[in-house]
């Protein structure tokens, strides 16, 4: 067995796979972490406009060292740049773009996703934790299509794809598709449907690491 068949996709490959599903002309909001990497893998020839909820459409790449501007940052508070045609706006307008369903796609991380599309990604509910939600609840409630990129299991090997979230929810029935290190999985009315497997990964291997029953998509038979 090769190393690849044990580990599935790495973080870069997960981002690269998700990027294939970002169409030309899309307005996209990317969450912190692996989702941020999606921008660098969008296939050439597609023009995508990135939104950051702190008030910028047309976010560009990170600046060269020494060129950082503390007043030009993204929602993760990291320095960014603008592309030609960028626009700044205040927070209420920014979230009108989100809540008003003007943003096409949001890619987020997850702690848990349930088979009905419920997402938990802001709090473990631990009593000593400082609760912090940011814009996650607004994004999942308002953006037209929600994609999740996440490791298939936690560091302790617990499934993140479950029948029902045990952590406090970010939103109900909001997730459309999940990209993990093992597979691409759609949330359907019938439950989680595996539409693609990472190289060397079997359906049974994914099922054994998932907290609920998976459906094998037609695409897998090909």
């Amino acid at each position: 067995m090769s190393t690849e068949s044990v580990t599935g996709w790495n973080r870069e490959a997960m981002a690269k796979r998700a990027a294939l599903d970002i169409p030309n002309g899309a307005y996209v909001n990317l969450g912190i972490g692996i989702p941020e990497k999606v921008a660098q893998y969008v296939p050439e020839g597609r023009e995508v406009i990135y939104h950051t909820e702190n008030g910028l459409l047309g976010m560009g790449v990170a600046p060269e060292p020494g060129q950082e501007d503390p007043e030009l940052i993204n929602a993760g508070k990291k320095p960014v740049t603008t592309i030609p045609g960028a626009a700044f706006f205040h927070h209420a307008d920014s979230f009108a773009m989100i809540r008003g369903q003007h943003i096409d796609i949001c890619v987020l991380g997850a702690m848990q996703v349930a088979e009905n599309g419920d997402l938990a990604n802001w709090s473990t509910g631990a009593p000593d934790a400082i609760p912090a939600v940011g814009g996650a609840m607004d994004l999942v409630a308002g953006v037209k299509t929600i994609y999740v990129i996440t490791q298939h299991c936690t560091k302790d090997g617990e499934p993140k794809l479950v029948s029902q979230c045990s952590y406090p929810l970010t939103g109900q029935g909001v997730v459309s598709r999940i990209y993990t290190d093992l597979a691409v999985i759609d949330v359907t009315a019938a439950g989680f449907e595996v539409i693609e497997l990472a190289p060397g990964i079997s359906f049974d291997y994914v099922q054994a690491r998932t907290g609920t029953r998976l459906i094998a998509g037609k695409q897998l038979a090909a």
Binding site: N54, G55, P70, T82, V133, G134, A141, G142
Partner: protein
Amino acid sequence: MINKHYGSVASAVADIHDGATVMIGGFGEAGSPIELIHALIDHGAKNLTVVNNNTGSGHVGLAALIENKQVGKMICSFPRTANSTVFPDLYRAGEIELELVPQGTLAERIRAGGAGIPAFYTATSVGTPLAEGKEVRTFDGRDYIMERGLKADFALIKCQQADRHGNLIYNKTARNFAPIMAMAATTTIVQAGAYVEAGEIDPEAVVTPGIFVDRIVTVAAPAQESLLVAAGRSYP
């Protein structure tokens, strides 16, 4: 003649009273009116309710205001930062209250407050712990919760340029909450990188119309919060 210009940050914040609700602009350090916040620390008003997206970093600016025990309650969306334990420590000790609000709901509550709208419905947070106890209504088959507009006694904000009438323009993503906070506060206090004569800002380019602005103080070279934090500075 209209004159909203104040000669010092101290005079601009001198009447902020104990128990006041104060909206403070900024998203992290971008747009944070650090000189006005430090003037509020010097002034010493206590038991404030502060509205900001975050809770500050290091031991300067908003974090210093909290550390100085002037804030009884924070209304914010994201009270954690990588480089500050000021808020978390006080929160765990039960010495500061937190009203956690999703970021977009916070922005819309502020906008609504400034626009004379007492409440509105949003799908954000439906089915989550942050919707508990809130009125739910169904419109066109979807559930929404009622959220209240938010007003303040004072807003402290930062802009790049202000004219004599109080028309403001901002710098890049430092704009964030400032325009809506200016609308929602009874008294809006602005620290401006530059103060110019009426007519010098193109009316087409004005972001915040002067009607929303009460006091302007020129702070030509504001401190950069992240540099102060990196240098281990604290205030006072």
